[in-house]
């Protein structure tokens, strides 16, 4: 646990310290449960309403557009494949990642940056408390758990949104709609959805906390570090999702 004590914080050392902390989490008494609960509350619970609206509108809009094109092509049944791709497989996890980056990632980076300027991080170190264990690890765990739950929630709401729109053009009982939807999905789709959002959540939390911790002395560094955190996180999210799509569509399918 040396990364926060050296003259310059490097991502390699910081990442190694986080992995070490996560591996030894059972023995670590410094991990703050209150920080973990707050993170789950803020990233997960408080995002439910907004996420429901986004999911409902997005899936409804895509089904609306898809329906118009597919009817012309005589491929009406592909609407379920489009819904599976939107709500579960590809677009849902990507939208969640960007939304959580904008909402919680920046909050982490700003909060840690301000704590660094106010010497709160130094105070923890001086008290023999590892700042990584106390404030970073619980945030990472909270972010990953929240994003996994949000992905499932987004899918459920998205399917309802899709059903409402689809019902206008092609009235069906929900059970029949749901059966058709399930047929368009595989277990891999669900596994990839959870995996992609969890890895994205981990990446966002690590990158944003690294930039927050990288603030040195001045409060003016905080927005500069936030901008860099957003740019690096977007890059990481796109790489994760692109790799997942490559693996999913070329190897597994």
């Amino acid at each position: 646990m040396k990364s926060l004590f050296g003259p310059k914080l490097t991502f390699k050392d910081y990442f190694a310290d986080i992995l070490f902390d996560l591996i030894n989490i059972r023995e670590n008494k410094n991990v703050s449960q209150s920080v973990l609960i707050n993170q789950i509350f803020f990233t997960g619970y408080e995002a439910f309403n907004v996420m429901a609206i986004i999911s409902l509108l997005l899936c409804a809009a895509i089904i609306l557009q898809g329906h118009a094109v597919l009817v012309e092509l005589g491929q009406k049944n592909l609407i379920y494949t489009i819904l599976a791709s939107t709500a579960v497989r590809d677009i849902g996890p990507l939208i969640i990642s960007f939304f959580i980056l904008a909402r919680s990632g920046i909050a982490i980076s700003t909060e840690l940056g301000n704590m660094k300027v106010n010497k709160e991080i130094d105070a923890l170190k001086a008290l023999g408390i590892s700042p990584i264990s106390y404030i970073v690890t619980p945030r990472i765990i909270g972010m990953v758990l929240s994003m996994a739950v949000l992905a499932i929630y987004f899918s459920i709401i998205g399917v309802f949104g899709g059903y409402i729109v689809s019902n206008v053009f092609n009235p069906l009982p929900f059970s029949e709609f749901f059966d058709n939807f399930i047929k368009a999905l595989s277990m891999w789709d669900l596994a990839f959805m959870i995996l992609k959002t969890c890895i994205s959540g981990f990446a966002i939390a690590v990158i944003c906390s690294f930039h927050g911790m990288g603030v040195q002395r001045s409060i003016t560094e905080v927005p500069q570090r936030n901008i860099t955190a957003v740019a690096h996180s977007i890059f990481a999210i796109l790489i994760i999702h692109t790799l997942a799509i490559i693996v999913h569509y070329t190897i597994i399918r």
């Binding site: 646990m1 050296g6 003259p7 909060e111 704590m115 010497k119 130094d122 105070a123 001086a126 408390i129």
Partner: protein, 211 residues
């Protein structure tokens, strides 16, 4: 007891300390002064163990501060009391929880809060109280573990004069127990009043401070 060995520190190609070696004896109050830019705050951070030097080490009870395992370091740090220039209280914890970070009992927390007339504010967050009260809480947090090393950056300045006799009494108790106390200050009045062993950072070295 608290020994610095060949501390070198360079930041952005500027050399702040060129092999500082010194032993701080126990039961004594030391003052460290230095002009602006002499590296006083950096020296404080290195002694507090929150920043590491480029080379050299600090030994406390013959254990290295910078080359021990993190667990050993955590144990050593629990014997330190550190008051920063800013109050540095954890903003998302209540003031009671801030004091409890020192792993002291509720009774001890209540006792020191009562001494410094802070008991009514224990359940509040740091943002809800005045600056003067914040500094008193920061001092309480440093004094709670009965530290064997007390480091205080800019001592007394932000503490109401009404509490100075109480602070003097607490410091006298620590000295009587053999603790090492180091004040980092540029104020001559503080150095004259408290400094039994007066030091100054100049020309990248730590020297005796003669007025």
């Amino acid at each position: 007891m608290f020994q610095l060995e060949k501390l070198h520190c360079t930041i952005d190609d500027y050399e702040y300390f060129d092999g500082i070696s010194y032993t701080f004896s126990g039961g004594t109050l030391h003052t460290v002064s230095g002009h602006s830019g002499s590296g006083k705050s950096l020296f404080f951070s290195i002694l507090a163990g929150v920043k590491s030097p480029n080379s050299g080490d600090i030994f406390f009870k013959e254990k290295s501060i910078f080359n021990s395992s993190f667990r050993t370091l955590q144990d050593l740090r629990k014997k330190f009391g550190i008051v920063f220039q800013l109050p540095a209280l954890i903003s998302n914890l209540s003031l009671r929880d801030n004091l409890k970070l020192t792993l002291r009992s509720e009774a001890e927390v209540l006792a020191i809060a009562r001494d410094f007339q802070l008991e009514p504010y224990l359940n509040l967050r740091p943002s809800a109280i005045s600056q003067g009260q914040l500094y008193r809480f920061a001092l309480c947090r440093a004094l709670l573990p009965n530290p064997e090393i007390l480091l205080w950056d800019e001592p007394m300045i932000n503490i109401d004069e009404f509490f100075h006799p109480l602070v003097d009494q607490k410091i006298a108790q620590l000295k009587a127990r053999g603790s090492t106390i180091i004040f980092f200050t540029n104020r001559k009045t503080i150095v004259e009043k408290y400094g039994e062993n007066r030091l100054i950072l100049q020309a990248r070295k730590l020297d005796r401070y003669e007025f």
